[in-house]
């Protein structure tokens, strides 16, 4: 039977109705609220905000609802919204040293000013399914909050190490405009600001796997987690007409700074180097993986032997974006009739020639 070539319009409309029905699920079950997603699937929302490059919890939650929980689809919705937003400028650098801490752990010091603050973490839970959670309505006992750390007294580990010159200084703020790969096409070699932006937007799974590969010998960086801190920071902005910084509000971020080995050179004394990761909300895995890959991508700058995937910025930056990746992989399901027809013709011709040649050889 000849399959209709026309009729696509009706098919698409039907598919969208089916999608809406599938998204809603069993109508006997109450519809999930955006506030429930934002409040109870908070880490997923954080990830959508991070990879979507837009800090808006409600919007990210709505995108997740619309996307039926498909993470990349939700990121897609947020990105497509973000791209329409006007841009007023860049904020002042965040002062994460003044963060209102919800969690802060250092793997390099047993104790340090500001202390170790575990906060809400899966780290030391035993992964045994809690079947009691299946029964709804049970109220959780209120958490016994840890003594609130004095934020002003929790300097960053890299700052503490920096006092002795044991770690490279943070690059000075030269007031240069910060790159934005959503406004300028990425050019190789890319500077660190753009690399960090690409990694922050990059797919968590991909960045994670790259980070893991450096731990298994493909571009080793000898990392220690100097510190992970999670909490709220103030965002400040200098409007041109005012000429001084005004606070815009607070946002929750996760910052990871790694302390990596560097043996020095003839010109420089041995010291530690840095890898940096920053993500919206509570996104520890992402921030850590980002810091490891950031450090791996500095191989050239630090004169390290390269060659591993995580050290190759063209490889990493060109492939870390989930939207680009999913777009190109999934586009394979679009019609390719004409290209395939051309290949088909060629293969048939070559097979005929091959058969002819074999027959001649046999004769």
């Amino acid at each position: 039977m000849y399959v209709a070539v026309k009729g696509g319009e009706a098919a698409i409309a039907s598919a969208h109705r089916l999608l809406a029905e599938a998204r809603r699920g069993d109508p006997a079950v109450p519809e999930i609220g955006v506030d429930q997603i934002a409040g109870q699937l908070a880490l997923l929302v954080d990830r959508v905000m991070t990879e979507g490059s837009l800090h808006d919890r409600d919007l990210a939650a709505l995108a997740l609802k619309q996307a039926r929980g498909d993470l990349i689809e939700a990121v897609f919705l947020v990105r497509a919204y973000r791209t329409t937003l006007p841009r007023f400028g860049a904020s002042e650098p965040l002062d994460t040293g003044a963060m209102r801490l919800a969690r802060r752990v250092s793997a390099t010091y047993k104790d340090l000013p500001g202390g170790q603050v575990l906060g809400p973490t899966f780290d030391y839970t035993h992964r045994l399914i809690d079947f009691a959670l299946a029964a709804e309505g049970a109220s959780e006992p209120a958490a016994q909050a840890e003594p609130a750390p004095d934020a002003a007294r929790a300097p960053r580990v890299t700052d503490l190490l920096g006092q002795d010159g044991l770690i490279e200084a943070s690059p000075p703020d030269e007031g240069a405009p910060v790159g934005d790969l959503t406004r300028e096409p990425l050019d190789f070699p890319a500077e660190r600001d753009l690399r960090l932006q690409a990694l922050a937007r990059g797919d968590e799974g991909f960045v994670l796997a790259l980070a893991y590969s450096t731990q298994r010998g493909y571009g080793r960086t000898h990392p220690f987690v100097g510190e992970i801190r999670v909490g709220e920071v103030e965002v400040e902005f200098v409007p041109e007409e005012l000429g001084f910084a005004v606070p815009l509000g607070r946002l929750a971020v996760t910052e990871c700074q790694t302390v990596n080995q560097f043996h020095g050179s003839a010109a420089e004394a041995p010291r530690f180097t840095r890898g940096y990761g920053l993500a919206f909300g509570h996104s520890e895995r992402k921030a850590m993986a980002m810091a490891l890959v950031d450090r791996a991508l500095r191989a050239d700058e630090l004169g390290e032997a390269g060659g591993a995937p995580a050290q190759d910025q063209e490889f990493v930056l060109a492939h870390c974006d989930a939207l680009q990746a999913t777009g190109f992989v999934e586009h394979l399901k679009l019609p390719h009739y004409v290209d395939f027809q051309a290949e088909l013709e060629l293969v048939r011709r070559m097979r005929a020639e091959h058969a002819e040649a074999t027959q001649e050889a046999a004769e």
Binding site: K110, P113, H126, R127, R153, R216, G217
Partner: protein, 290 residues
């Protein structure tokens, strides 16, 4: 902490793993003991804690633990670091075995990154948590290659790496996970213990078992086995030395943690092995910060 017995968690086998899995692990352990320093592949299971938290060590401990064992768990030398607390609680819950913080009272000691300061005795088992079991991994990332290098006892690349360290920096720049040669044959990763602990592995009366869960390898050093840290005649192996004793107990021959006390450069150095430090203080030793 006094040893105490609790009722194990119901719904799970003794010490969490099923008996068939334990038998598989014990077979790997027996092979590992028979070929000291050789990495035996084993079918590591997914455990209820993440890879990297000590799933290899936990599986080894689960496979060897008996009802009469007394378990000690340390991380960075300390019994009260979060992960040590968590693993100890896991076995107290799933096996109901007695737990202790005292090195001498323990029959099984699971450790991450340290060997206790107090000498171990015959009959004790030290279980190491291992992240990367392959000592040649950072010279050759491919497993197919490193297996062959071990088979041929081709350890030239490792010696070249150590030599290059000396040529570049004047000394060997490996401070932890310092490679050792076991029983004159296999080069082995001692897990990321500071090299300070390497000499304790040599001729040790206790059985030393190593479990790497994510990498699915088990290896072992039987009691009284020669464990030699790789070095050169003109650059003999040396351990770290601290220029001050523990601020709490005054011990001078131990590994110390640096603790930052303020943001103005204040710091103190204290025993990494908290049980050793407490025992010394109970015996009346005092450091200058105590």
């Amino acid at each position: 902490m006094t040893p105490r017995v609790r009722v194990p968690e119901t719904g799970y086998n003794f010490a969490y793993l099923d008996e068939a899995t334990k038998r598989m692990i014990r077979r790997a352990l027996l092979k590992a003991v028979a070929i000291p320093g050789y990495q035996v592949p084993f079918a590591a299971r997914e455990m209820p804690m993440p890879y990297g938290w000590g799933t290899g060590g936990v599986q080894v401990t689960a496979a060897i633990l008996g009802r009469n064992d007394v378990l000690k768990v340390i991380d960075q030398g300390s019994d009260d670091t979060t992960n040590a607390v968590s693993i100890r609680a896991f076995f107290a819950r799933t096996a109901g075995v007695a737990v202790t913080t005292r090195t001498r009272d323990a029959t099984v000691i699971q450790t991450r990154h340290r060997i206790p300061e107090a000498p171990l005795a015959e009959g004790q088992v030290l279980v190491y948590q291992v992240p990367i079991p392959e000592p040649l991994r950072f010279l050759e990332p491919r497993e197919t290659e490193t297996r062959q290098l071990h088979a041929l006892a081709e350890y030239g690349p490792m010696h070249v790496k150590l030599y290059e360290d000396i040529a570049r920096h004047g000394h060997i720049a490996t401070t932890y996970a310092y490679p050792v040669e076991v029983a004159g044959r296999y080069v082995m990763d001692p897990s990321p213990t500071p090299k300070f602990d390497n000499p304790k592995m040599d001729d040790c009366p206790a059985l030393q078992l190593f479990g790497a869960g994510r990498e699915k390898r088990i290896y072992a050093v039987p009691p009284y086995t020669r464990v030699r840290s790789l070095d050169f005649e003109d650059h003999p192996f040396r351990v770290q030395h601290f220029d001050r004793p523990c601020a709490l107990c005054g011990a001078g021959d131990v590994y110390l943690d640096e603790v930052l006390t303020d943001d103005a450069g204040g710091r103190m150095f204290v025993c990494s092995d908290t049980d050793h430090c407490e025992a010394r203080r109970e015996a009346g030793h005092r450091g200058e910060g105590a």
